[in-house]
């Protein structure tokens, strides 16, 4: 037996569709402001809860990502009071400016995500392995250095070089209208 009214069911379906489509963008936005994977995941969870609770306030056919990022922004502000001092990278003024830019760029960041998959494929296998080891769950620079037989210093340098290479590759693909489609 379910007592959920039909319009509420429709509303929930819309919510799930929107979140499924845009959750990655919201995560990227959060991560940009809180550059720690676990903290960002926790904040995404908290944001998802509030988005669900307040979904009735969302105006259909308006910018869902901007609306959800606004909710994420308030969760980030709230959580900053609880973070250890060492985790706070910027003061409120700088963070607010970055948040504004990141919110405006959500669509571009999503397009870059798609293009990045193809740029990753273009890396030499050894370089790709280094990058993916650095970013895999439980990985890190030291694990990437260990597995690739590099010193820590060499691994940091290689990662910076590869991140820049990927950044340029993605920018180039988007500039030529290639996006994420090979």
């Amino acid at each position: 037996m379910s007592t959920t009214p039909p319009d509420e069911t429709e509303s929930r379906k819309r919510l799930v569709a929107l979140m499924t489509r845009h959750q990655r963008q919201i995560f990227a936005y959060i991560y940009t402001l809180v550059p720690d994977r676990h903290d960002a995941e926790d904040l995404l969870q908290e944001t998802s809860v509030v988005v669900c609770e307040k979904f009735d306030d969302f105006t259909p056919n308006t910018d869902f990502v901007a609306w959800a990022c606004q909710i994420a922004w308030w969760r980030i502000r709230y959580s900053r009071q609880k973070f250890a001092r060492s985790k706070v990278v910027f003061d409120d003024e700088v963070l607010a400016a970055v948040a504004q830019t990141a919110s405006e760029m959500a669509r571009e960041i999503d397009e870059r995500h798609e293009a990045l998959a193809l740029c990753l494929q273009k890396l030499a296998p050894r370089d790709r392995e280094l990058v993916l080891t650095r970013y895999e769950p439980g990985g890190g620079v030291s694990e990437a250095a260990r597995r690739s037989g590099r010193s820590m210093d060499a691994a940091y340098k290689a990662l910076n070089r590869l991140r820049k290479l990927l950044h340029d590759c993605v920018t180039d693909r988007l500039a030529h209208g290639q996006g994420g489609v090979a």
Partner: protein, 527 residues
């Protein structure tokens, strides 16, 4: 304004240091100055950090598919759902599904609680009767009287009408108005009740929430402690201990008026009419000193359960080891046992409960099957269901409890493959024969509800040979396949196997774990 090459190289290095956690104070000051003053720098920063977010996602997907990767589980997939409302959980299920296995999809219409008691209850919504299962997202409107809801997590709440509550999941509900008294056992710590004014996370306790329906709520703690987070303003969560109370509203947090009288009322016992569910139960203790026969005890009514017979491997004397209680059955990858469990192949719910110890180095080839049985219902067809540990890391944590059946599976979170004893209970409810009724599976490990979401897979499991002799047979330590019993075996030590002919309540599962018996059910050896 664009960035010069030098600025780009510097920013790239600074962004890398942020992501890798190596930013020095001097770099922090420099980066902050760049971001404060330059829109171009902010745009570069957003792209660089967004790229790292993407790399985390791609690396997670590939890591999940790596055959030899160590068993690490992202916090995204580990225990996320326990604290989420249903819609949020559904959303996250969808996202996790996209990240891990694109074809996986959650099944809606899941039962997460049961009405376990009532007194003089009058309902605004359609009347509910004690014993009735309650769905995710179900809203309950009690006009008057008392109603007790037991969540599958083990948390129990008593509503006093007029009251309105929305059940979000086995771990979460929203009290819109009315009075609620929550009792949360250790297994359900983390159970959450929210309201427009406050969100209360139970840390193992008894507490009451009184919601006025206009956005304010009072929280009074009777035992233990809770964490209460106000919804309004930036105020942090408050830890409330025994005999402490607060009122939460949009205007802020204040003392509860008339608190002594309210506390004294809460200590008055509530006499509810509870439903008593008959249970037929069969138990194999594996306590025989040796020999090929494993004696069955049955209780709760006539049941043609059989003693189990050990097959394969030798010598039989090596088939017992010290167990969690008395002796346990030693399954060495060759040995298995077979018994009759009446009704297990049909459509009615069953609970299969046992202790299990899986060696840390148990090979992936010996993950199948701790307990397996053929299914003979219209929905599940002539196939099989089995309780295993997960050996496919693309689908869930390696070693976690896993129940497979036609067209779906459920995977928990705790690895059983650690050489220690774990208590396992699986409530398996195939449901009626309508295809739109989901199969309900609740998995408990060490008394904790680990998973109840059914993930459907594209291809149904292979058909089992339509051998009538397979119906109502359980196999301990042997896998079934299209041709009937297969060569794959299980390595590990099961102990104290119980099969009950209904979905047991969380408190009953804890009783089986702690006391090795079901309250009110006497057992006797099978003739």
């Amino acid at each position: 304004m664009t960035l010069s090459d030098t600025e780009i190289i510097e920013l790239n290095e600074l962004c890398g240091a942020v992501v890798d956690g190596t930013l020095t104070d001097a770099q922090r000051v420099r980066l902050a100055a760049c971001l404060r003053d330059s829109e171009a720098a902010r745009r570069f920063y957003a792209r660089a950090l967004g790229q790292s977010a993407s790399l985390h996602a791609y690396a997670s997907e590939l890591h999940a598919g790596a055959p030899d990767a160590p068993a690490r589980v992202s916090r995204l997939t580990r225990g996320w759902f326990v604290a989420l409302p249903a819609a949020a959980a559904l959303v996250l299920v969808a996202w996790v599904a996209l990240r891990v296995r694109p074809e996986a999809a959650p099944v809606a219409g899941e039962f997460v609680a049961r009405l376990t008691g009532a007194k003089d209850a009058r309902w605004t919504t359609p009347a509910l009767r004690p014993g009735e299962r309650l769905e995710k997202n179900q809203r309950i409107e009690l006009a008057a009287g008392l109603a007790e809801i037991t969540f599958d997590s083990g948390a129990r709440v008593t509503l006093e009408g007029p009251a309105s509550i929305a059940i979000a999941s086995a771990w979460d509900s929203t009290l819109h108005r009315g009075t609620l008294k929550a009792s949360v056992p250790p297994e359900a710590i983390g159970f959450r009740i929210s309201n427009a004014a406050v969100e209360v996370v139970d840390l193992g306790t008894e507490f009451t929430m009184i919601a006025d329906g206009r956005g304010a709520a009072e929280v009074l703690v009777l035992k233990g402690e809770v964490e209460a987070a106000p919804r309004a303003g930036p105020q942090e969560a408050i830890l409330l201990r025994e005999r402490e109370s607060r009122r939460f509203a949009a205007t802020g947090v204040s003392d509860v008026s008339d608190r002594e009288r309210k506390f004294s009322l809460l200590h008055e016992p509530l006499l509810l009419e509870r439903v008593t569910q008959a249970t037929r139960l069969v138990h194999w203790s594996f306590d025989e000193a040796d020999g090929p026969v494993l004696r069955a005890e049955a209780g709760g009514g006539p049941l043609d359960a059989s003693d189990a017979q050990i097959h394969g491997g030798s010598p039989e004397a090596a088939a017992r080891v010290e167990g969690r209680r008395g002796k346990a059955l030693r399954l060495d990858g060759r040995r298995y046992a077979r018994a009759i469990a009446p009704g297990i192949s049909g459509s009615t719910p069953h609970t299969i409960s046992f202790w299990i110890r899986v060696p840390e180095d148990a090979p992936l080839s010996e993950a199948y099957s701790i307990v397996t049985w053929a299914t003979r219902s219209k929905k599940l067809g002539n196939r099989h269901a089995g309780i295993n540990w997960n050996r496919d890391r693309t689908e869930g944590p390696l070693g976690a409890l896993r129940t497979d059946f036609r067209g779906g599976h459920v995977i928990g979170t705790t690895s059983l493959r650690d050489g220690r004893w774990h208590h396992v209970a699986v409530c398996f409810a195939p449901g009626d024969d309508r295809s739109d009724t989901p199969v309900q599976v609740r998995q408990y490990v060490d008394g904790h509800l680990e998973s109840s979401t059914v993930v459907t897979s594209r291809a149904p499991g292979p058909a089992v040979e339509e051998d009538p002799a397979l119906a109502d047979v359980i196999w301990i330590g042997r896998r079934l396949g299209p041709g009937g019993p297969r060569a794959e075996r299980f390595r590990g030590d099961p102990d104290e196997l119980f099969i009950a002919d209904r979905g047991l309540e969380p408190t009953e599962i804890v009783a089986l774990m702690n006391e090795n018996r079901l309250p009110g059910t006497a057992l006797a050896a099978q003739p």
